[in-house]
């Protein structure tokens, strides 16, 4: 029982990282109907920016929680900027193109970030400094959580909650909802659709970057291709929850994280990468629009 609870703790922590990445996928999809394949690579960039930022703040030799926070914020901010540039340069020109062309563009951007990253950062693994030394906190007999896991959880929850408040209660957030409903209607209401789209990319990118830094805190080896698998799986998580649906992305991410950790723990770690997709297929067969997605009947 205690191993199960321990796995659950690990699963929830891991799942909250997926959830953070999945949120960006889901928001961009909700607004543009675009699968932003480069999103996983923003997660990678986030980790690398974090690495450089911590060197800049000299956080490796002299770690402190304040510096860790600064590293996180710098990474989120710069990634938001990168997200904005990508949207303006690559995605805006294909917004009216056939959907597959837009998808190929996204894949092109993804390849560009990965291979450009390999050029700039080098292909080999880099070590992310220990910004916060690890401590283990016992929760009950046989179940513990590390302070780093706790930070991952708390930061994720704060970010997700903040996003929810933002979307539901601010003007810009409401405009985002309107744009995801209909570009036409939103622009008739006087909303600048272009601005909202750019903004959505920025928020999504900064969440992915946060996920990148949080993961690097725990497992400090980072490399330019590290975003591919988590990116794919976070996307699957977004689909599981019902793509375009923000709470769905969180639930999907958690389901995914818990399932993966359980499979690794109880079955075999080698099948870990397949479980995401098996889960996906099973859930979609039962609920074709995802857990929270509504099946829409097209009006004829």
């Amino acid at each position: 029982m205690s191993t199960f609870l321990q796995q659950l703790v690990n699963g929830v922590t891991w799942g909250s990282v997926y959830a953070l990445i999945a949120l960006g996928y889901t928001m961009v999809y909700g607004i543009l109907r675009l699968i932003n394949f480069a999103h996983g690579d923003i997660y990678m960039l986030g980790a690398f920016i974090g690495l450089y930022a911590s060197r800049w703040f000299n956080a490796a030799k002299d770690p402190s929680p304040v510096k860790a926070l600064l590293v996180l914020l710098t990474s989120m901010l710069l990634s938001a900027l990168i997200g904005m540039i990508i949207e303006r340069l690559a995605y805006k020109p294909v917004r009216k193109s056939p959907r597959l062309s837009a998808l190929i563009t996204a894949i092109g951007v993804s390849l560009l970030l990965e291979n450009g990253g390999a050029l700039v950062f080098g292909e080999d693994q880099k070590f992310f400094p220990q910004l916060i030394p690890q401590k283990t906190i016992a929760l009950m007999a046989g179940v513990s959580i590390s302070n780093q896991q706790l930070i991952v959880l708390v930061v994720s929850i704060v970010l997700m909650f903040g996003l929810r408040m933002f979307v539901l209660h601010t003007r810009t957030g409401k405009a985002m909802q309107a744009v995801s409903h209909s570009h036409m209607a939103a622009s008739l209401m006087g909303i600048s659709v272009d601005r909202i789209i750019t903004f959505t990319f920025m928020i999504g990118s900064s969440l992915a970057a946060a996920a990148g830094v949080l993961v690097a805190l725990q497992s400090p080896k980072i490399e330019p291709y590290m975003g591919i698998m988590p990116g794919l799986k976070a996307f699957v998580a977004a689909v599981l929850g019902g793509i375009g649906n923000i709470p769905g992305a969180v639930v999907g991410g958690l389901v995914m994280g818990i399932a993966e950790v359980m499979v690794t723990g109880y079955l075999s770690p080698t099948y870990r990468d397949a479980i995401a997709f098996v889960l996906l297929i099973v859930i979609l067969l039962v609920r074709p629009a995802g857990i929270f997605g509504k099946a829409v009947t097209e009006k004829v």
Partner: protein, 327 residues
């Protein structure tokens, strides 16, 4: 009899080239040429699904892998022995090996087609992106399974496959796929597929069995992806699971989209361009993939309909002929 003229000429030309090409092409160029042929088969077969029918499959590498490993395993367990027995019975090696290669390709394609059916039937009721992600998932599952099964070499790969495929076989298959796709495009069945692509609800209201056609296109596409995989296995004589990642599927989709959805000549052209491009970029070494990515983005921004749109390159006009327009 006119119907048999083109195939006959193709056959003779392929045989002649098969004999002569290796003599004056250096081995590297020759291998690139073979890859072009395999990629043409992959691109045209995926075009049947994505371009003709408007489905959104991004797991072609999975079907290719199924065909590659299926056919290789057949050859290594039975094919080689049967071929040896045939040679012992005084059949010429070319015939014996050719027959066994053909058998292995059909089996590999068949296996991929079965997977295509299993994936396609339940998931084709999913719309657009959901279908895409299921095909992606399927491709990953196949890869993880291969990685974990020792009998097919696992992560180490599968060496020792006899090198039976050659220029002739690779381009014969490519020619067959192109021929079938052209016939399909100009038939009532092809029109049914295009109708599904353009407006599924209207197609159904006119009596087109959309589910059956979508599954058929999917199975047909998977079959040829499997055959292409088989050729790949029997040409390189070594398989590695890392060949069949999501990136391979992407490469094939890029060919279909760049060529123009539904355009057969477009797919062929794009398969050639996108196979040669990375090779040509080898000269710039480290910058190769970055440039490839940049070109992909720029091409999509400047030509979102692909090189050909839905049109075909035609010899008669050397302008565009509209798909399905009457003569």
């Amino acid at each position: 009899m006119k119907r048999f003229l083109a195939p006959a000429i193709t056959l003779v030309a392929l045989l002649a080239l098969n004999q002569s090409l290796p003599r004056f092409l250096n081995p590297y160029y020759f291998q690139v040429l073979i890859l072009v042929g395999i990629n043409i088969t992959l691109a045209v077969s995926l075009n049947l699904v994505n371009g003709f029918t408007g489905q959104f499959s991004i797991g072609h590498a999975g079907f290719m892998a199924a065909g590659a490993y299926g056919s290789a395993m057949f050859t290594m367990t039975f094919g080689q022995k049967i071929a040896a027995a045939m040679i012992a019975a005084h059949l010429p090696p070319v015939v014996a090996q050719g027959a066994m290669l053909l058998a292995s390709l059909l089996l590999g394609g068949g296996l991929a087609a079965i997977f295509g059916y299993l994936v396609g039937l339940p998931s084709l009721r999913l719309r657009g992106d959901y279908l895409a992600i299921v095909t992606l998932g399927f491709g990953e599952i196949i890869r993880v399974i291969i990685l974990n099964v020792d009998a097919v070499g696992g992560a180490r790969g599968l060496p020792g496959i006899p090198q039976w495929a050659n220029f002739f076989w690779v381009f014969l298959v490519a020619a067959i796929v192109i021929g079938l796709a052209v016939n399909l495009a100009n038939s009532t069945h092809g029109r049914a597929l295009f109708a599904i692509r353009d407006d599924e609800i209207a197609a159904e209201a006119l009596g087109v069995d959309t589910t059956a056609y979508k599954v058929t296109a999917f199975v047909l596409g998977s079959f040829f992806a499997g055959v292409a995989g088989g050729l790949f296995a029997h040409y390189l004589s070594y398989l590695n699971p890392s060949t069949f990642t999501f990136l391979k599927s992407i490469e094939v989709i890029a060919m279909v989209v760049l060529g123009g959805m539904g355009s057969i000549t477009g797919s062929v052209l794009a398969a050639i361009v996108l196979t040669l491009l990375p090779e040509a970029l080898r000269a710039v070494k480290d910058y190769r993939m970055v440039l490839y990515a940049l070109m992909l983005i720029i091409l999509m921004i400047t030509r979102p309909q692909g090189l050909m749109g839905t049109r075909e390159l035609s010899w008669a006009l050397f302008g565009g002929r509209r798909r399905g327009g009457s003569k």
